[in-house]
Amino acid sequence: MPTKIALAGNPNSGKTTLFNALTGSNQYVGNWPGVTIEKKEGRLRSDTHRDVTIVDLPGIYSLSPYTLEEVVARDYLTRENPDAIINIVDGSNLERNLYLTTQLAELGIPMVVAVNMMDVVEKNGDKINLDKLSEKLGCPVVGISALKRSGITDAAEKAVELANKKVPMIPRHRFSDEIEQALASIEELLQDKVDEKHRRWTAIKVFERDIKVMERMAFDAALKDRIEAIIGKCETELDDDAESIITNERYLYIASIIKDCYKRRSNVKMTASDKIDRIVTNRWLALPIFVLVMFCVYFISVTTIGTWVTDWTNDVLFGEIIPPAVESFLSSIGTADWLQSLILDGIIGGVGAVLGFVPQMLVLFLFLAILEDCGYMARVAFIMDRIFRKFGLSGKSFIPMLIGSGCGVPGIMASRTIENDRDRRMTITVTTFIPCGAKLPIIALISGALFGGAWWVAPSAYFAGIIAIICSGIILKKTRLFSGDPAPFVMELPPYHRPVAGNVLRSMWERAWSFIRKAGTVILLCTIVIWFASNFGIVNGRFIMVEDLDDGFLAKLGSLIAPIFAPLGWGFWEAAVATLTGLVAKESVVGTLGVLYGFAEVAEDGQEIWGLLATSFTALSAYSFLLFNLLCAPCFAAIGAIRREMNSGKWTLFAIGYQTLFAYVIALCIYQLGSLFAGNGFGIGTVVAILAVVFFLYLLFRPYNERNLKAATVRVNA
């Protein structure tokens, strides 16, 4: 029988770091709560213990069933009976972390407490008496640093030893006499229903009137009345409700532990993190700093360092080296012209166009990984909480958006930690407004080829996403579907630390490699299909390879839908088809343009890369094209994730419809009003754009409907 050891602890206490260290896994470690939303399993790396499985549980503050993470962790601990628990406790926040420890101890499962971040505790000059803590809790306590990998083997060895001995954990903590009396009475009533190991924990939960436990126990009416009488008597004696009585007693117990085991340095100075946070999370400075940071990230990635390398990739690698070499090889072996065209114009043109942007992507992912690893991104969720709260969303909704800057799919999936259905649906609807990695090639292409690398284009794409989220939040919160107060958002800010080079580089490479792999699969298929559809057609009743792409099947299909985009300034079939292929994967927009505008051929002729593309767009139509493709319906993978998380076809259609309509209106207004201000005349499109702006402003500034708010409150209370 394999031995199962569960890792349980507060969010951000270092569980996943410990899990990776113990199992050799590479699980994502995030610096914000809700990163682990499902349990993960891995085998313990050990020469002596070959059959030990480590289970990483979501971070929780208690064993109450309030959040998805708590339900997942609690269900695992109480139903799947792990052989032992390693309770990972953040030593720099001992008092708060011990609340969960007191609850885990009651489960009766053998337990080891691993006090993490001992290096930080020592650096702060604080002292934790681990022996005394062990004596007080009634279980082994080990000091560790998961990040520095010190003490972790000792903790794992102790857990395996306890698991093998199967000695149940007997909590040292006793509640006051009145409560113990009540618990004993409840335990007696549970004798036939719950096995001895879990009886005390179940009795405490029944005493707290825990909804999930009460449901699972399915007491009959008579038994329910007897239990209620026991609880009621205790509540009258102690003049409080049952849940608060238990909570207070736990904190009194924790206070007594802290008094005996923890010595804080007498002259508590502000830590470096506190000093940085005074500026970075300052009420007035936080937002400008965030804007500046993200501006620099996108500016440096797309316009400076990234561009220098991308220029080489595009001009030299995919311009002077690969196409001529492949062409001369194909010619030398006598390959047919059409096959040469498929490989050069189709595959190298399309896939090469996408791969050309890998350097910019590497730089962007490097910056995002540094910001995540050092702890700044966790502050961004806190900063955005203030802003989001103003229009009825909490900072918890920003976490999916942070994750979505890599890829929209995990971003959408991360929204399941939002308990409130309305907030969750709204978060899912707006998450993909944040440009994901796959949209970077579109941003870089438009910025480089059509704006000559203008400094403002790339950062504006990111901020357009943020503004779209804020405006959508305001508009949607005023409707009956989404109205209501935001849920409270609690998160602790991890101390800043120097990014670990290995983590940052691995994160950057993993994301970039995944992008390269996608270019070699989905994008490759897409470019082959695009090449065939654009190069073949029916001319004079004959199916032939066309000389002019305007005669191909793709041009015919594109011409049917192109008029829809004419008011946005790019009503030609190439742009319309590129937008459509973006549904397969957003990189395909660039791949398609590469095939249709002869990326490889143009370079070979010595013309500027993307020179032909630049002649098809004006600055205004290019920016409108960029915004539409950033904000419209995401790729099929993300749509699938929306469908799964919404669990409703209607809501999925609403989300996709809203995003596309929103993108269309924004692109329309940009192009039409831009054209008006540029002196390009006044037309029917201008009138529609002005009306759209007026309606948009009305939706934005109309007052909140009190009736909707009341209805939402009633729904929540019910």
Binding site: I37, K39, I54, L330, G406, V409, E510
Partner: protein, 62 residues
């Protein structure tokens, strides 16, 4: 027939290689779909906080 094949052997080999690549890609995507995984998700599994939802119960590096 043999003459035609001999004349176009380079084309045949390249088309066969391309077809093999395309079939391999499609088969790989079908396998992923059958496993309930996303076929064009843009994130590496070890960099994805939700990887455990696509690969339930697995913690080892994908």
């Amino acid at each position: 027939m043999l003459q035609y094949i001999a004349n176009h052997i380079a084309d045949i080999i390249i088309v066969a290689l391309l077809l093999a690549a395309v079939i391999g890609i499609i088969a790989g995507m079908a396998r992923k779909k059958a496993k309930g995984q996303s076929i064009s998700c843009g994130c590496g599994c070890s960099e994805c906080p939700s990887a455990s939802l696509c690969h339930p119960g697995k913690g080892d590096k994908e």
